[in-house]
Amino acid sequence: MLVLGTAVLGEIASSATQVYFIEALVSVVIVVGLYVFIGNTGVLSFGHISFVALGAWTAGVLSVPSGEKPAFMPSLFGFLRHATVGNVPSLLLAAVAGGVFALVVGLPLMRLTGLAAGIATFAVLEITNNILQYYEKIGPGQNTFSAVPETTGVWQAAIGALIAVAAAFVYQRSRFGRMLRAVREDAPAAAAAGISIYRQRLGAFVLSGLVAGFAGGLEVHLLPISYRDLYLDLTFLTLAMLVIGGVSSLWGAVVGALAISALDSFLASAENGVGIPGGTLTVPSGTRVIVEGVLMALVLIVRPSGLTGGREFSLRWLRR
C-alpha cells in the first residue's frame, strides 16, 4: 500500500502539469473517506460530499486573512470574522468538523441500511448544500472562496493522501474493521456473535467523515471553490471512482481514484485540444462525464466487484 503512495510521489515530482496530480491526490483522500464507510460496511452513502463541503467551509473561512473576509463574506459571525488560523490547524479543524458532522448525522441515520440509507444520506447532501448556499453567516454563501492561501501543493496533497490511506488501512485491520466486515457479509450471524452493528457502523461513519472533512480542507487550499463544486457532480465522480476501482478493497479505492483522475484530466485537456502522436485530439466539452458514466455502468454490469476485483494489493503479485 505504501509502495503505491511513494510510486505516485516519484511520478509527480517529474511532472509539469502538477495541478492534475494534486487534484488526483485530493480525490484519493475523498474516495478513501468514502471507502472507509461504504467499503467496510457495504451500506451506500450519497452524503459524504456534505462532510467534504463542511470541511472545506471550516478550513476556508478560518484561513482567509481577516482583512479580506468582508470582500466576499460580508455577514460572517463576529468570532469567525476575526479568527485566522494557519495551514495545518485549519486542515485539522476541517477533519474535526467533518467527523463531528458525521457523528451528528450518523447518530440517527446509522440504523438504516440499503435503499433507505441511500435516500437518507442523499437528503443530508441536499440539506447541507441548501444551507451552505444561503446561510451567509458561516461562509461565502453563493460566492466563491477566494483569497484562501493556496498551500495544497504536491507534498501536502501526497502526505494527506498517505495519512488517509494509512488511517483506512489501520482501521480495516483493527478489530473494528474486522467486525464491520463480518457484519457486511452476514449481519444476523455477526449480531449473534455479539457485535453491535449500530455502534460499529457509526464508528466507520465518523472516521470516514473525518477523512472526508480533511479532504475538503485540502481542496479549499487548492482551488477557489464554491458550493456548486461540492454537490451532485462530485458525488457522482467520487462514487464512480470507488465503484470502478472496486468497492470492497482499499487498493480498489486508490486505484479507482487515480485511474479516473488520470482519465479525467486527460479528457479535460482534450476538451481544450491535446497533442497526441499523429495529430491533435479535440473532443467536445462534456465528453468526460459521458465516458465516466459509460465506464461506471459497464463496470457495474460486467465486473461488479470493480477493476481490482475487491482484492488488496500484495507483494506476492510481484514474485509470481
Binding site: 437518507a120 441548501n130 462534456g286 454490469i301
Partner: protein, 297 residues
C-alpha cells in the same frame, strides 16, 4: 403570508405532476426493486424533443408525438441495456447504476444542446389565465390536474382490469412466485417500464408549459424532490407513493409561492429533513398501514 388562488392552483397542479412522477418511479420500483434516479433525465429528453419540435416549427401534436416516441424509446433502451443485466444485483448497486445513467443522459444533453438550453414554446398557449369568478387561474393548472386524474384513473383500470396489470401487481408483490406461476419476467418489467416512460412523457409536456426553458438539468430537482416524496409516502405501495408525491409537490408549490424568498430558500432543507424524520420513524412510509408489507431492502 399572502395566499392567492393562483398559488393554491399552482400547488395543486405541481402536486399532480409530482404524483404522476411518483407513480412512474413507484411502478418500476414495484417490479424491479429499482429506484430510478434517471427518471428526471427521461423527462428532460422528452422536453428537449418538444423544444426541437418547436424549433423546427412542427405542429403541436407532432411535437408531443415526438416527445412520447423519444421517451418511450429511451425507457426501453435503459431497461434493455442497464436494468436487465443488473437485475440480480442489490438495490443499492442498481441505484448507483441509475445514478450513472442519469449523469450520462444529462451530459449527452449538455453536449448536444449546450448549457443554456432551448425554449419549448409549442404548447405555451396554455399559460394564459382563465378568469373564474374574478379569480385568475392559469389554464395549465387546470389542465395539469385533469390530465393527472385521467392518467391515474387509466392506470387504475390498467392495473385492476387487464391481465398485464394483474401480472404487474403480482410481480410487485412477490416476483419469484409470480414467475413460477407463469408471469413472464421480461414482459412484465418491460410493460412497467413502458407505462412509467409514458407517464414521464406526459410530465414532460406538462412541465414544459410551465417552465418553457429546457436545460440539461431540467426536472433534476423535481426528481430528487419526488424521490423524497415517494419515500415519504411509502415506496412499496403505489397508492401511498402517489399520495407522497402529491403531498410533497403541493407542499413545495404552496410554501414556495406563499413564503417570502428569505424563508422559502430553505424550503429544500425542511423537505429533506422531513424525509429523514419519516425514514427514521416510519421506514415503510406515512401512508402505509403497519405490518402490511415486508421490508425487502
Amino acid at each position: 403570508m399572502t395566499v392567492s388562488w393562483q398559488t393554491i392552483a399552482d400547488a395543486v397542479s405541481l402536486g399532480g405532476i409530482y404524483a404522476l412522477m411518483a407513480v412512474g418511479i413507484g411502478l418500476v420500483f414495484g417490479v424491479l426493486r429499482l429506484v430510478n434516479f434517471a427518471y428526471g433525465q427521461l423527462i428532460m429528453s422528452g422536453a428537449f424533443a418538444l423544444a426541437l419540435a418547436a424549433q423546427w416549427n412542427w405542429p403541436v401534436w407532432a411535437g408531443i408525438l415526438l416527445c412520447f416516441a423519444v421517451v418511450l424509446a429511451l425507457s426501453l433502451l435503459m431497461d434493455r441495456l442497464v436494468f436487465r443485466p443488473l437485475r440480480e444485483q442489490s438495490p443499492a448497486v442498481m441505484l448507483v447504476a441509475t445514478f450513472a445513467v442519469a449523469f450520462l443522459l444529462q451530459s449527452i444533453a449538455l453536449l448536444w444542446f449546450g448549457a443554456l438550453g432551448k425554449i419549448a414554446s409549442s404548447v405555451a398557449g396554455l399559460n394564459t389565465p382563465w378568469v373564474i369568478g374574478g379569480v385568475d387561474i392559469r389554464k395549465i393548472s387546470v389542465v395539469a390536474v385533469i390530465v393527472t386524474l385521467a392518467c391515474l384513473a387509466a392506470l387504475q383500470l390498467l392495473l385492476t382490469r387487464t391481465s398485464v396489470g394483474l401480472h404487474m401487481r403480482a410481480a410487485a408483490l412477490d416476483f419469484a412466485t409470480s414467475r413460477m406461476l407463469g408471469v413472464r419476467a421480461n414482459r412484465v418489467i418491460a410493460s412497467a417500464v413502458l407505462v412509467s416512460g409514458f407517464l414521464a412523457a406526459v410530465v414532460a409536456v406538462l412541465l414544459t408549459v410551465q417552465f418553457p426553458l429546457v436545460t440539461p438539468s431540467f426536472a433534476l430537482r423535481d426528481t430528487i424532490v419526488v424521490l423524497a416524496g415517494v419515500v415519504l409516502g411509502g415506496l412499496n405501495r403505489p397508492v401511498a407513493a402517489t399520495l407522497g408525491g402529491f403531498t410533497i409537490g403541493f407542499a413545495s408549490g404552496f410554501l414556495g409561492g406563499a413564503l417570502p424568498t428569505n424563508q422559502s430558500q430553505y424550503l429544500d432543507s425542511f423537505l429533506f429533513a422531513a424525509v429523514i424524520l419519516v425514514l427514521l420513524v416510519r421506514p415503510n412510509g406515512l401512508f402505509t398501514r403497519h405490518g402490511g408489507t415486508a421490508q425487502r431492502l
